[in-house]
Symmetry: C2
Subunit: 313 residues, 2 copies
């Protein structure tokens, strides 16, 4: 399930030699599915992603099941996949209770999730931006005391469905707070997919100016307006080496106006392979995994590359 000899590998100037893909399909993807996927299918999905060469696979979320019923089986799922060799399995933890549950299962990577806008903080966490940060502070402190790696997600970094364009300084302020409390890395989320390449590079530059190094920054683009891969290229040109993507383009934002969601890992891998950038991912195996998962979900993958390679549609 690949195209013989394509894409042709032709490096571009000033790009990183290696990119780490932070695979979010099993968490961000399945969290936004209407259907609840059986635990064993989720475990098989994670195993297949690992088998395709992904080494950072966000596994699940320890949010209260009332809020995310799709991932209510976190306790059952995590032990089924936690022995995959050489694979990091970060999990989402909203608060100390979530952290307790994750640590009890042996999680070594956790993520908190903040918002750059008041509207989304209220909608997603029922708190102000600063109240949410205050909630995360002891989570991050305890995780770091346990030498657990902490990622800080930041939503609505470029635009917000209620507030429109989000000023860069507003994003930078929250990023600095997350770094100050001890996050090891940040993931800059374009939750509604409205970013464009100049905006991406300006935010990254401003963060650098304010002391947040590019090495601590990952990008998380949504393809709602078809911009995700162009924005990723802009981020790579700035030196970013951590890119979030979702196998088969699974998932989406319930607040965005379209079903199109996360950047598809396959579309990303096609570009990186063409650029001669090492990811360790086998595109054929990954596409086969997404086709299999699409079958489980009963609908085709929105990824262009999956469609093209699998003759879907």
């Amino acid at each position: 399930m690949t195209v013989q000899g394509l894409p042709m590998a032709v490096p571009a100037q000033d790009l990183p030699a290696r990119v780490r893909i932070h695979e979010v399909g099993a968490r961000d993807g399945l969290q936004n599915e209407k259907a609840t996927v059986p635990t064993e299918v989720k475990a098989e999905f994670v195993r297949r992603l690992a088998d395709a060469g992904l080494t950072t696979i966000e596994a699940t979320s320890f949010v209260h099941p009332k809020w995310v019923p799709q991932l209510a089986d976190a306790e059952q799922l995590f032990p089924l996949v936690s022995d995959l060799p050489g694979v990091h399995l970060p999990v989402l933890v909203p608060n100390e209770r979530g952290l307790d549950r994750a640590l009890a299962l042996g999680a070594r990577r956790v993520a908190v999730f903040a918002s750059a806008t008041e509207s989304f903080a209220k909608a997603n966490l029922n708190r102000s931006v600063d109240e949410a940060l205050a909630m995360f502070e002891p989570v991050v402190a305890r995780a770091k005391a346990d030498k657990v790696h902490v990622r800080g997600y930041l939503s609505m970094c470029f635009g917000d469905p209620w507030e429109g364009a989000v000023p860069i300084h507003q994003v930078v302020r929250v990023c600095k707070s997350l770094m100050d409390m001890g996050c090891d890395e940040l993931s800059l989320g374009d939750t509604i997919g409205v970013a464009t390449p100049g905006h991406v590079q300006s935010l990254l530059a401003e963060l650098n100016e304010e002391g947040v190094p590019t090495s601590a920054l990952g990008v998380h683009f949504h393809d709602t307006y078809g911009q995700a891969l162009a924005n990723t290229l802009a981020a790579l040109q700035h030196g970013v080496t951590t890119v979030d993507a979702s196998a088969g383009g699974l998932g989406g934002c319930p607040y965005a106006k379209s079903a199109t969601g996360n950047l598809a890992t396959e579309d990303l891998v096609w570009m990186l392979q063409g650029l001669g950038i090492d990811t360790g991912v086998d595109l054929g195996r990954l596409t086969a995994t997404s086709v299999w998962m699409a079958g489980q979900l009963g609908r085709p993958s929105p990824s262009r590359t999956v469609k093209a390679l699998s003759h879907q549609e």
Copy 2:
């Protein structure tokens, strides 16, 4: 039909101030539709595209109707739209007979279409690459003698479904032949959508080395693997200011393995607007046009931006 205040305009470094969009939906798009669209609907489509601010709208093709029955009404269509003020209406002409037909109707811009690979030259024109060039030579000479603007399309510049990756020097040779015979501009086609940004920049650089200036080069990307917009960004960074796109993402290549075809004009305009690059296009009007055309064709637009802005799907 726009998002209030989005995308936020944030220019990036070293990009052109203005981009000319060469709109191909009415020709390249409709040529690949199974259904034959009534002539009056095509004329209305062209008028609406002009009303949305597009100033170069490829109208139709003077290929023999036996080969492209969808555009067999070129003689009837062209006079219906040829009086649009300030709009260029290039048409395809494969040979002298086609040129005669186009000139008789007053066409002032024509395009010939060559192939970078022998396999596609054979499939598309039933000729070798050089035989096709020989066929175009008198067409271009006569057009130039009449002060008619000539575009040279070149297909399969990055990959070919039969031959795989296409060597850059092979593409450059055909480009030089087209320029030498008098073409005013070239359109570099990624007919099966396999290009990636480094490959794009390498081809452009090699063409410059061989004496073809960037000002004579347009790019024509297909979104089969989701790469079209990232490749466009790479081309803009190289200085390209002419970009082909198809309203609503209409069309596709019958030889590619997927239904996804041309870069959607709306996705392109979203990025350019976000980059602060002037195109003269009104995104809301353009999207409304594509939604209207999708209704005529009885299927939704594949453009991400059209889907998001129109709540399609």
